[in-house]
């Protein structure tokens, strides 16, 4: 997934380089205290571990094997800011020494994998942890979801960068659909690998895991009945199934208002919505035809809605008692 030279034009490379430098600077400041305590050897060795682990061939079932990206895993193991530095080190060494990833595209690669991959993975893990019981073992499924989301998030970042400064004109909707679709599949592998590796670490030495040391505390006041994990999983599965599969059987006939409009003759007064240029307009992915288009649009819509809902709920939750999603 490393971007080579020539994909993105020079202004975009420079811009992403500047932004990446800024975020890495923030990460340096936020992790200063922790690294001063543990010394630079620990993140250095974690970086060596992530690099080496990226080479390992993990069998992910059905005869396929996958490789680890490690953003979410590193974030859970050593904290989000140290993990940003760890992944940045890995990318710098890969770019400068192993010629993996362009010299001019280093900023873009860091934005992609070390910033978005790590921080989105960590945020989603924390969000999922809010709904799970406060136990060290809960970190494992939470990290799996975090890993699952972090990979398509990184792919989306790449698509956004390409939309701004890509050198060859490719239909954007198609690129987004292909990148995100393919990287959701990779994300499943990443989730499985992250969960299994993290499971071992949490089982043997949970004190080594940053997120276990910084588990969110529960409020003392009685909390309203929380939905269990199983109903949540079933509900999510049903929702995605309806959005992705049952929607294929949806009727293509106009709805009530459109039908009346056509009968009474005022349908022509309708103008296109301001969002008609959106890549998901009309519940179809721009550039994709056929039933897949509608299904994918439905699934994307569900995921975005759930994400927004979780975000709003987390914000509302944090009003009552302060919960730092990313600790200092």
């Amino acid at each position: 997934m490393h971007i080579p030279d020539g994909f993105l034009d020079v202004p975009t490379c420079v811009a992403t380089g500047v932004v990446a430098a800024g975020v890495v600077g923030v990460a340096l400041r936020r992790s200063e205290r922790e690294i001063a305590e543990t010394g630079p050897a620990l993140p250095g060795l974690t970086a060596a571990f992530v690099f080496a682990a990226q080479m390992v061939n993990f069998p992910v079932g059905a005869g396929t094997s996958g490789h680890l990206l490690g953003g979410a895993l590193a974030a859970v193991l050593v904290g989000p800011w140290t993990a940003t530095l760890v992944l940045t080190s890995v990318l710098v060494v890969q770019g400068l020494l192993f010629a993996d990833g362009g010299l001019t595209a280093l900023g873009a690669n860091i934005m992609d994998m070390a910033v978005v991959g790590v921080l989105v993975g960590y945020l989603v893990t924390r969000l999922v942890l809010q709904v799970l019981p406060t136990r060290p073992r809960s970190v494992v499924p939470a990290a799996a979801v975090g890993a699952l989301v972090s990979v398509p998030a990184a792919a989306l970042t790449f698509t956004a960068m390409y939309a701004v400064g890509g050198t060859v004109d490719v239909p954007l909707g198609q690129l987004a659909a292909a990148m995100i679709g393919w990287h959701v599949v990779i994300g499943v592998g990443e989730a499985l690998i992250t969960a299994s590796v993290l499971g071992v670490v949490v089982a043997t030495r949970p004190d080594l895991v940053y997120l276990v040391r910084h588990l969110p505390e529960r409020a003392q006041s009685p909390v309203p009945a929380r939905i269990g994990t199983r109903p949540l999983v079933i509900a999510s599965g049903v929702t995605l199934g309806v959005a992705g599969l049952v929607s294929l059987a949806a009727s293509a006939s106009p709805d009530g208002l459109e039908a009346i409009g056509q009968t009474l003759g005022f349908a022509g007064a309708a103008t296109d919505s301001g969002a008609a240029g959106s890549p998901l307009a009309d519940y179809a992915v721009h550039g994709l035809t056929g039933p897949m288009s509608g299904s994918l649009a439905g699934v994307i819509g569900v995921l975005v809605t759930v994400g927004v809902g979780l975000g709003v709920a987390a914000l509302a939750h944090s009003r009552r008692r302060p919960v730092a999603l990313i600790s200092q």
Partner: protein, 276 residues
Amino acid sequence: MSAVGATVSRMRPVTPRRGAPDPARTDGLLVHGASVVHQLPAQTKVVALTLTVAVVVLTPPGAWGVLAAQAALVIGVAAAAHLPAGLVARRLVIEAPFVAFALLLPLIATGPRIDVGPLTLSASGLIGGATLLIKGTVGTLAAIVLAATTPSRDLLAGLERLRLPAVLVAIISFMVRYLVLVADDLQRTQIARISRCGSKASLATVASGVGTRFVRTYERGERVQQAMVARGYTGQMPRLTDAHATSRQWTLAMSLPAAALFVTLVAAVSGWVPGR
């Protein structure tokens, strides 16, 4: 051979076979030599090569003459450093996945289509894809030249002189130092797993090996920190080397991007560069 083993063997010194011609003396990624390129300080090479690649990326698609001249410049540097062609070619293989993408571009790009044999391809996709291929290869070549002529310790000293934050330099230097050890450890874990479970791997067994190896790597990190503190580490990493670059060396290094830029400007002025 597993990928980890391939990495580890890439980083081990190569012993020449009996009677075979002496291969380039490699030491990990470094190819020993005393050429002009080898002797330049690392920071000059990093800046010069990155700027050269930036100039190459600036070249508009389809400017074949300009791209060829710029590629020739970078190949010339590789030749000046006496890098064996076979070694460079082998290391270029790393860009294979992106080559596949560049080959796909004529099929998926937008714009007017032209007929090539049985396929209808996008004209801009063909030009763009070929341009991408050349630019990406030149970029990879530049990075290969950098790695082959610069010991990693000097590279880190150069990055430090380029004002990379000291903490980041420290983390990268520890990473580079322990990379071979950690990769070796992982390979030994794989061998232990194979000898106990046979070659049929499952996610649980591979992951448990990797997870346990993380625990031991972390503990090694703690031990290294304690060893450093025991030897007087007070929180400040000592400066790596005093890699001062003279202005003559900077001039020599910057001649590469200057030449690349010159080629582009000449072509632009004389109208060789096709408009977009």
